[in-house]
């Protein structure tokens, strides 16, 4: 079974490679290493947010407020930068991360301490956070000329030809991998999602793991708030509108079970890359970007069907012959 799970990730990787091959028939330039690297760079924010979402989904919750969180923290860092251009960039980013963490904590506290279903909490905070963007900005834009050069260019700095965006996402992937494999809290998220009852019996506070999942989700959303604004060099109310769906889609495609307890960092990253390749390839192979939404929608549906087949509970094997066959 452990192999089968690995298989799911190799299958997904194979699908991505196949897709690249097909795209290469139409436009061979697409699979040039430099272009593939830029596809990865373009997918960085999606990868980070998908990993954050995975932690939340592992604990049987869902965070629909990530995109609104990105918009709000993005607007705040953009406004800080335009008002106080002399403020050093690390401080500005830290402000975004702290704010994002707080927004995530609000979600987490309501789930943990009040026991409100995560979907209700985050549907609510999704519109609250987005509304606050309007309140603080008065509906106005912060444009690139109002931002400092460091603010816009730092994530584009290349190290050995790799952009900051990509480096940051690689670091986050490594951090989340270590977190889920090597830290007690990370394992407790799997345990809590796999069986809340058993988790309680083993002394794991399920609500606490959910709180931390939301907190991390908020923290990474705050980071992405800065990355997003710096990437597109403009901040406005509708930044990342509807992006939460892409994020959830990346998780689902990557084999993260919405019922909790199942999901891997690798699968999640592959899920995000899958969408990243589609998003970047459509214009290249001459398909209108209007197709993007329908494609990611159908991919979600197909992925959940595939997942449900793989997850379908195998019966408890009690027959002697079955036990023997297992060897």
């Amino acid at each position: 079974m452990a192999n089968l799970l690995k298989n799911r990730e190799t299958q997904l990787a194979a699908v991505i490679v196949l897709m690249l091959v097909l795209i290469a028939f139409v436009n061979p330039d697409f699979i040039a290493p430099s272009n593939l690297l830029s596809v990865y760079t373009e997918s960085s924010i999606l990868i980070i947010l998908a990993l954050a979402q995975m932690l939340v989904v592992l604990t049987r919750c869902i965070d629909l407020s990530v995109a609104a969180n990105v918009a709000l923290t993005g607007m705040v860092v953009a406004m800080i930068n335009s008002q106080y251009p002399e403020l050093t960039l690390p401080l500005v980013i830290a402000a975004g991360v702290v704010l994002g963490t707080l927004l995530g904590m609000i979600n987490g506290l309501m789930v943990w301490k009040l026991g409100i279903p995560a979907i209700v909490v985050t549907l609510g905070t999704m519109s609250i956070y987005r509304g606050i963007v309007f309140l603080i900005s008065n509906g106005e834009w912060v444009n690139s000329h109002e931002m400092s050069l460091a603010f816009i260019n730092t994530p584009r700095t290349e190290i050995f030809g790799v952009q900051g965006f990509a480096i940051i996402s690689l670091l986050i992937i490594a951090a989340i991998y270590i977190f889920t494999e090597k830290r007690p809290l990370g394992r407790e998220m799997y345990a809590a999602g796999n069986s809340p009852t058993a988790a309680f019996y083993t002394g794991i506070d399920v609500g606490r793991t959910q709180f931390w999942a939301f907190t991390i989700s908020g923290m990474l959303s705050g980071l992405c708030g800065y990355l997003w604004i710096s990437r597109y060099a403009v901040a406005y109310v509708d930044v990342a509108l509807g992006f939460e769906l892409q994020v959830v889609a990346a998780c689902v495609i990557g084999g993260v079970s919405i019922m909790g307890g199942i999901g891997t960092v690798l699968g999640c990253v592959l899920g995000a890359l899958f969408l990243g390749v589609i998003n970047n390839a459509l214009p290249v192979i001459g398909i209108s970007p209007f197709w993007q939404m329908a494609i990611s929608g159908s991919v979600i549906v197909i992925a959940v069907i595939a997942n449900s087949r793989a997850e379908r509970k195998v019966g408890r094997i009690i027959l002697r012959k079955a036990t023997l066959a297992r060897g």
Binding site: P117, I119, V121, S127, I128, F134, L135, S296, G297, V304
Partner: protein
């Protein structure tokens, strides 16, 4: 002895408390708030009490409310449909295309209703056949249906609706009572009957409280849920007729984000988002409450996005409040 016992229990049965009683308090609470908002609105704006103003205000919420009714049943049955707004958009596109091809008004309406039902059917089949949580399925179909409208329309709009079509969204049945509002009232009565007075409604509650036990009691749980998904789709089709008729055009962004306010109406009405409980009267009161809040804020020139803050706050507050009150009571006792 047994005979006497059973007679007394039966006597109690006719006068006895029904299990819906526990929601009565919630509805009373909602009514109170609604009344308070009504008074506040009257004080805040001299234009509020004008019958035509009130009638105009109903257009803001009746289309959503038409979807909230079947969605309440679906949520009571432990499922959810996040794709409702996208279904409305897709149905609108279907009507727009039929209108361009020159079909008559009844066929436009029929087309929308059929398209909506088919969308609901797709959701239902995916959920029940493949045993996938409805929240994921409908997040997927939400993008899919909306995506199809983008593919068809791009950045264009469909506008060639025949004359007479505007009646569904702009016409009046009698005096200030619009076609939309009257339809909503009639449908509210129909859904009240369906949920509270029929076998179908009873099964809805049974499944929502314990799907396994309902299945073990011989209820066809999958079919029941499939029917409810179709029903939600059908009424999205109807809402789409009203909305398209009122706007007179179809753009891919039509009804964007409506799922949030529709679900808020249902949850605000006392329907448990985890299934098993809720009433139609609660939902109807919640619809009026939200309509009134929106209208009042509109009179005060509060922008739409701020209203979404208030709707989001209301959604969380109404669920958090009973929990906090219960905690508070426990602490005192």
């Amino acid at each position: 002895m047994d005979g006497i016992m059973s007679q007394t229990t039966q006597a109690k049965a006719t006068t006895g408390v029904s299990w819906t009683s526990r929601f009565k308090t919630w509805e009373a609470f909602l009514l109170l708030i609604t009344a308070a908002v009504f008074v506040l609105n009257t004080l805040a704006s001299p234009y509020f009490l004008d019958p035509w103003n009130l009638s105009d205000a109903t257009f803001n919420f009746t289309e959503k409310a038409v979807v909230a009714l079947p969605l309440a049943l679906l949520i009571i049955c432990r499922e959810i449909d996040l794709s409702v707004a996208s279904i409305i958009a897709l149905c609108s596109v279907v009507m727009g295309l039929l209108a361009e091809a020159g079909f008559s008004i009844p066929l436009l309406v029929l087309g929308s209703l059929i398209a909506g039902t088919l969308c609901g059917l797709l959701n239902g089949v995916l959920v029940t056949r493949f045993d996938i949580p409805s929240i994921v399925v409908t997040i997927g179909t939400m993008s899919l249906f909306r995506g199809i409208t983008y593919i068809i329309l791009g950045d264009t709009a469909l506008k060639s609706y025949p004359s007479g079509f505007e009646y569904f969204g702009q016409g009046y049945v009698y005096w200030v009572f619009s076609f939309e509002f009257v339809s909503f009232l009639v449908l509210a009565a129909v859904f009240y009957f369906l949920l509270h007075r029929t076998n179908f409604g009873r099964r809805t509650y049974a499944i929502g409280n314990n799907p396994t036990a309902a299945f073990y009691s011989g209820i066809n749980v999958a079919r029941h849920r499939l029917i409810l998904f179709c029903l939600v789709g059908l009424f999205c089709g109807l809402a789409s007729v009203m909305l398209t008729s009122r706007l007179g055009s179809t753009r891919p962004t039509i009804a964007l984000g409506w799922e949030l306010s529709i679900i808020t109406m249902v949850v605000l009405g006392g329907v448990n988002i985890l299934g098993g409980s809720g009433t139609i009267s609660g939902v109807v009161i919640a619809v009026f409450l939200m309509g009134m809040v929106t209208f009042g804020l509109g009179l005060l020139n509060v922008p739409g996005i701020v209203m979404s803050i208030i709707i989001g706050l209301m959604l969380i507050a109404v669920i958090a409040m009973p929990i906090l009150l219960r905690r508070f009571k426990q602490r005192r006792s």
